[in-house]
Symmetry: C2
Subunit: 557 residues, 2 copies
């Protein structure tokens, strides 16, 4: 490919408002442009990389026996309704009616469609497990796109689905995918940490995410400093030791407290650590108030809360609504509160004589003790687990929390979808049984973004060879390009993919800077100075070497 | 691939209501299933073929210098509105709003998006022509899906777009695509006839369709029996010779005519040929009546009419509306008719003393002569051209009309899109000029359907090697499959794609029938009888031959 003819060129400016490296570099190097928020155009360079990522992933899927298929983007909405996934996805699922008023979901994921697909062939036990995958566009109307290619509203996904006769057969397909994800990440030079995770709107209760550490990531996970425990912050559990459990329970005492409204101000006021305080958070759940009690130094994990409540349909109350339940912001207290349900996080049991508000401005209670002062409550785990927790697995190591990007996610659904949709197989006795099912996803554009996040330096991208848009980047420093023209043709004839910067109206400096920005693995330079040889520099290394054509071809093949 | 593990199996029943061969065979052979009307699931076999078609087409695009890109499916609706394509597509364009109430079109074609894409890089004349293509899903909410894969509501399309500095540069890209289409068709063993066509809702006024003869096709085109003239029936022109122009114009005469309402009944009544009659067709155009006069043996071409009227927003009137303009069905006459516009087809000029209705039941006029009896009219070409016409190109040959399926369509838009959307390049003087633009489409699933229509026999599909799902279909006739297992592994090791029918619970007859149905190019049989050799039969031929392994591998590689 001649750079002069390449569709999509480098540019020195960064895209407006870009924060993440992949966004800045892919834009500047001419791989991507945004059509509208979260919907990207991929140039020639962009498509080359995307296509190579598809090939790497497809190969690994084929190797574990998955078969590639294709399915429509518009799904009859009733397939989503059968498992209430339309409600679970809420506004992020786009819907459309056709001219006959039939309702369709614009595919956000394909579980129900795949169950329908498998049903059409009434599989026998002999054919199982069925593992199928596709690369298909997914549509998720996120509230906000972010981070260049990291969170899109429309993106290509490798989504695989497995169907098995029993749990054991299913778990083999799950492990195959798990291992394939590790191999794919390795080939793409992405360092991943598999963590236990929450399935969210997709359903099921066992799943793993493959996380990539990144300070700008939207996700967080915790790891144990001593064992291999790792879990998404949404799912992570942890052990809290008692703080002052030897203290005697003192009598409740109402006191005047002209303090600020937040926990930090409250701790300052009393000159105590945050854990000494009781935090009572009100949520309106389907328009009814509930209260969650938690230790002052710990946050409420809304995913855990949604799983306990079996709905994500809840919100923070308006001031008017607080008034109705007889309390006031900053001074909420369980004592005398008019709510439909009290949930008490386990952390509350680790402290005696907590300080809490008193449902009136500038009034607090000292010495709140659970369960002495609140009889009708459920003890639950709704804590955002952090560094003060101990590992739930080895029960020794301290937990550490990391920011990360999700690279992939694998799900075990059991019969969640197949029961609702009648996904069955014929067993050895000729009878119908429900299929065990799972799903396994990798976002392709996001993967491209992660590869850049993981492989770059100050000058630009450093593509791993497996997904580089071209193998070599050829630069001519002579006024006439004869030597380079000749080399370009020879390399192309050998089947070596070359991006040849044939411009005669820019300086050598610009050409070198563009080569570093675009990030092709091997840079080749020819000029009068190189004589009959070619200067080769790997993008990853500093040193250059002079090679003759034969050795160069050997090196690049 | 082991047949026992293949996802998607053969079946003996035809799909309900199937009329076209591709529909019946692809369903029975297990390549496709319908998810909902016009939206198909592709099995492993189906995807293999689709993917190979993509590769054949992609290769030809790359060879003519096109660069592959990718663009979103949801387009800001304003991009469609800029050229009024939203109106032109009407209900077949699906629309959706996101959570922020922004309006999107679900991509039915990508012209406007591609102009936006090119604009983002402000191309200079040096980069031109820019030719880019993608394989992307298209969504068209057709009134009716039909013919298996022939007319879908959602399908993959190869759509290429070219942008050039001037008409000459553009025409080179148009010709490149034209020739590439012929090559692609050849590789896919599809016989195509390029014909001049109408651009319809896509805009522009110069385009070619690549037609495949098929008695079940939705399209028709005419060809000259003597020269190379070929045009879609929507676009075709023709020359009509005079019928009785030497006759003297006789005076108009109103007569009683207790006859049937249609042209055939009218001709019977008068015992004259149809061409002797004048047909006056009323259309309501944006709710106003117009009349089209045409010879009794010729139909009105509504596409030509739409192009003349510059709108496709017209319809046949209700009886009430006929009453208002002072006429009655079956006896419509231009004489005394209250309409806003008279259009007279050229064919009317080939006859003297026509018979027409008189706008009253059972009353006709004899001896209508244009222009004597109708002063204020426009003479136009709105005829459906057929066998009574002479070729407009060689002016000698008779025209012939054929039913066909459209395989591909290429469009020259001039500045139709780039003017409305500001698609410009920087010329040699640093000034901005509008880009010349064209688009070039091939529907991929439809192509798969056409390949089957063109390559099958009574027993099943006969895949051309270029797009066959596997190279060879291996059948074992022994009770134990040892010999076949061994051969399968050896062939796989050689990189030969084999579908191995390893079933032990079906007869040889079933295996042979399935092999013929699925249509893989080479059938291999091993059994005790074949000794150390392998029986090979080409799907296209009747004879079998016995080969040893070495010769077989040589043959299949």
């Amino acid at each position: 490919m001649l750079y002069s003819k390449l569709f999509g060129k480098t540019i020195r400016e960064e895209p407006k408002g870009a924060k993440m490296t992949n966004h800045k570099l892919l834009y500047k190097a001419g791989f991507i442009r945004e059509l509208s928020s979260g919907r990207y155009l991929l140039t020639t360079l962009g498509w080359q990389v995307l296509n190579k990522i598809i090939k790497v992933i497809d190969k690994q899927m084929i190797e574990i026996g998955s078969q590639r298929v294709a399915t429509p983007t518009l799904h009859p909405l009733k397939l989503w309704q059968a498992t209430h996934r339309d409600e679970a996805f809420g506004e992020s699922l786009m819907r459309v009616k056709d001219r006959k008023n039939s309702e369709f979901a614009i595919g956000a994921t394909h579980e129900a469609v795949m169950v329908e697909f498998v049903k059409k062939f009434k599989p026998s036990f002999k054919e199982l497990p069925i593992v199928i995958h596709q690369f298909s566009n997914k549509f998720r109307d996120e509230i906000r796109a972010r981070g260049g290619l990291i969170r899109l509203k429309e993106f290509l996904m490798k989504d695989a689905y497995s169907f098995a006769a029993d749990e054991k057969e299913f778990m083999k397909t799950y492990e195959d995918q798990y291992n394939a994800y590790l191999k794919i990440a390795e080939k793409l030079k992405i360092k991943v940490v598999p963590v236990q995770a929450d399935a969210g709107a997709l359903g099921g209760d066992y799943c793993h995410e493959f996380m990539v550490l990144n300070s700008e990531g939207e996700d967080s996970f915790v790891v144990c400093k001593q064992c291999d425990y790792a879990a998404n912050i949404e799912k992570a559990q942890g052990i809290l030791s008692g703080q002052n459990l030897s203290e005697k329970e003192l009598p409740l005492e109402k006191i005047k407290a002209k303090r600020g409204l937040n926990m930090d101000q409250m701790a300052d006021f009393y000159k105590v650590p945050l854990w000494r305080l009781l935090k009572t958070v009100i949520f309106m759940v389907k328009e009814k108030p509930i209260a969650v009690l938690i230790r002052g130094d710990i946050e409420v994990n809304e995913i855990k809360l949604a799983n306990i409540l079996k709905t994500s349909n809840f919100r923070i109350p308006e001031p008017e609504e607080l008034k109705k339940i007889k309390t006031v912001r900053g001074f909420v207290s369980p004592i005398g509160l008019k709510v439909d349900l009290f949930l008490v996080d386990q952390s509350v049991l680790t402290v005696k004589n907590l300080i809490t508000g008193a449902n009136e401005l500038n009034q607090d209670y000292k010495n709140f003790n659970y369960p002495r002062d609140l009889k009708t409550a459920e003890v639950v785990d709704v804590a955002v687990v952090g560094q003060m927790f101990t590992c739930p697995k080895c029960k020794k190591g301290k937990l550490d929390s990391k920011r990360a990007i999700e690279f992939g996610h694998i799900f075990k659904y059991d019969h969640f979808y197949t029961k609702a949709l009648g996904g069955k197989f014929i067993n050895e006795n000729g009878k119908e049984n429900l299929l065990w099912m799972g799903a396994f996803g990798i976002g392709i554009e996001r993967t491209m973004g992660i590869v850049v996040e993981e492989n770059h330096d100050d000058k630009g991208i450093i593509w791993p060879e497996s997904v580089a848009p071209f193998k070599a980047h050829l630069i001519s420093l002579d006024k006439d390009n004869k030597k380079a023209d000749d080399l370009y043709q020879k390399l192309e004839k050998e089947g070596i993919d070359v991006l040849y910067d044939d411009r005669d109206d820019v300086s050598a400096g610009v050409k070198f800077a563009d080569a570093d920005l675009i990030g092709i693995p091997y840079r080749l330079v020819v000029s009068k100075k190189t004589n009959n040889k070619i200067e080769l520099k790997e993008r990853l290394k500093d040193k250059t070497e002079l090679l003759d054509l034969k050795d160069l071809i050997k090196k690049l093949k």
